[in-house]
Symmetry: C2
Amino acid sequence: MSNAKVLPLLEPELVEPCCPPLTERPLTADEADRTAKMFKALGDPVRLRLFSAVASHEGGEACVCDISDVGVSQPTVSHHLKKLKEAGLLSSERRGTWVYYRVEPSVLAAMGQLLTKAAAA
Amino acid sequence: MSNAKVLPLLEPELVEPCCPPLTERPLTADEADRTAKMFKALGDPVRLRLFSAVASHEGGEACVCDISDVGVSQPTVSHHLKKLKEAGLLSSERRGTWVYYRVEPSVLAAMGQLLTKAAAA
DNA sequence: CGTCTATGTTGACACACGTCGAATCAACAG
DNA sequence: CTGTTGATTCGACGTGTGTCAACATAGACG
């Protein structure tokens, strides 16, 4: 692969207010496709534990070494963290030896509002 | 099957406040397992569209025939509705010729609070 | 440089999942 | 009772997903 600068198109999908309220009108295929990706990311027990571990850690960020005790091998932990990052729920940053993962509060808020608004209707 | 009254144990799992806030503490394996089931149910585009169609329908209930236009075959629609029902997000009732599905507001509210509380922390 | 620890990546495997066609069941019309 | 329409169940198929062992990469520390 070339080492040249990649196109800006390659950056992760923007964390837009992607979530039309569930009770307002039936979701379109495209809306459902985007929204389902996030729910799917949280639809695995191991990922949910990892995400909760990061979210409940001090400052909403945690080193991988602090949250790797979820009963699966280390490569599997890395795999799930990658999935969560691809879904836009986590972001990672390398600081020296360790890699830290942080939660993406805006995405969580959007998902929460999507459900609470739905429940309130 | 017998027509006698079934034991109360057979009723669907109670809609308890099953959701410890995501940022309070890391979820246990059991908590994550239960919570992930609900997110997983919403993690499929077709199911999300079906759920949204029911939730946005008048009175929060809809006949299957009204929401079957999601681009998949009718058996597949039935399959997904069953999944949503098993996850506790929908309930079904037969009225004459048609079967109506309704949303379970309390479950939605619990999931929403789980996320919004997480985002607020 | 070499080595050690911490993460991420690859390849492979078993299993779960979404999908459909065909068969089946449920209610209604004749 | 027979036929028709709505809805679920069954059986099968292809794909996706979670998991691991093995290997590769990135810093840190002598």
